[in-house]
Symmetry: C2
Subunit: 241 residues, 2 copies
């Protein structure tokens, strides 16, 4: 199954001024497409840091998705970082430059021209809904940091990312984790390929633990669900779905 | 100034089922304390992955804060990962075991005893408000994943983390980024130590870009703010604070 790493670039996240909503969005979307997100990392707008993280993630995952640092200002250095990761020069791309000219009334200034600069040999994914095409360097897909724009861009290219999606089943249990831990361990011995999550909740009225059972095989998930329901006290199961 | 890395451990974040609220909380808190968060990484509940990330972060940052993976179930392997990072054995700690026994009515079962197991040679930070003391291994501070518990624990030990806090000033500008990019670059030449952020907003009625000016020196931040206000068109400044 394809794997992905998400690289969030931006001082504003690390300093606590902005909450990153892009990685939760991407995790949900990629999950639904059957792509396994294996790491999310947030780093500052520093060229060397971006370069080393991109190089490492590109080696380890099938897809790398970056978010942020592609605007016209001094702190937008993502393109430089990705160029450095693959030892490529930065060059102005004529396709993007033309798009920018079409949208601008007058001449482009220095900061607008900056937005046409991409690593040499970059690929582009275009779609009717996009103002500027998505820039791709090797297996690195470069998205803007503004959530509305990132989502619009992802919608335009989502068919590029695909795998077999997971089936998710849930059991809401009205016992403490330590009381059901043995049942969970036994379940995993019977269903070793199951992805089993156990999430204690406080301040919930009707249950104490949410159990999630996931598999790419719907039948396997159903059999595991049935097996676990058989292992729990019927009175302890608030709901199964 | 002290630096920190945050390591979020949990499959539920990567699969998009749960949105991580711990790292935004920690970033805000540490910022207010004057500690620079330089990286946030989210990884799955896998011992080897935890071990290698902890080793790397421990080497690079003054403080490492982990969140998640410390409960009683099969997928709680953070202690094992941290023990492996520093090549220490895991052992049952008598202090924590006693606390657990005090809170439990009967005998402790296997999964409850698991919560007393920590890397050998761990340190503990205790406070009146904590049920179980915070476990610290070298410079790694181990927090639970449940946000209410993490926050309670952090509140109990926050005076351990300290530096000189930043002063944050803001200007709300009613022009596009590319129209003010030159002014920002000139400002940074005059104030090279300023942390300057530029955040375009769409769907805001009264401004198009939020500029943030930060420094640990309040006077430096004020002088930079005044200088930037002098560089912008007065009619383009919606608000400065």
């Amino acid at each position: 199954m394809p794997t992905a790493g998400i690289l969030v670039i931006g001082n504003e996240i690390l300093s606590g001024k902005v909450v990153d909503s892009n990685s939760p969005y991407l995790c949900k979307q990629l999950r639904a497409l059957g792509v396994d997100v294996e790491q999310i990392t947030t780093i500052p707008d520093v060229i060397e840091t971006i370069a080393s993280e991109v190089r490492e993630m590109s080696r380890r995952f099938d897809y790398v998705i970056t978010s942020g640092g592609v605007g016209p200002t001094h702190d937008d250095v993502t393109m430089d970082g990705i160029a450095a990761a693959f030892e490529r020069p930065i060059e102005s791309n004529p396709v993007i430059e033309t798009r920018l000219r079409e949208c601008s009334k007058g001449e482009l200034n220095e900061s607008q021209l900056k937005m046409a600069k991409v690593p040499a040999g970059a690929a582009f994914i275009d779609s009717d809904h996009l103002w500027i095409p998505l820039v791709v360097v090797e297996n690195v897909y470069i998205f803007p940091g503004i959530p509305e724009l990132l989502q619009k861009k992802f919608e335009g290219v989502r068919d590029r990312f695909s795998g077999v999606p997971y089936v998710l089943r849930r059991i809401y249990v009205n016992q403490f984790e330590h009381e059901i831990a043995d049942a969970l361990n036994d379940l995993l011995e019977e269903f070793p390929k199951l992805m089993l999550g156990s999430y204690p909740k406080i301040r919930e009225e009707n249950f104490k633990v949410l159990l999630t059972l996931e598999s790419r095989d719907a039948d396997y998930a159903q059999r595991a669900l049935d097996s676990l329901l058989g292992r729990l006290l019927p009175s302890a199961v608030h709901k199964a779905e």
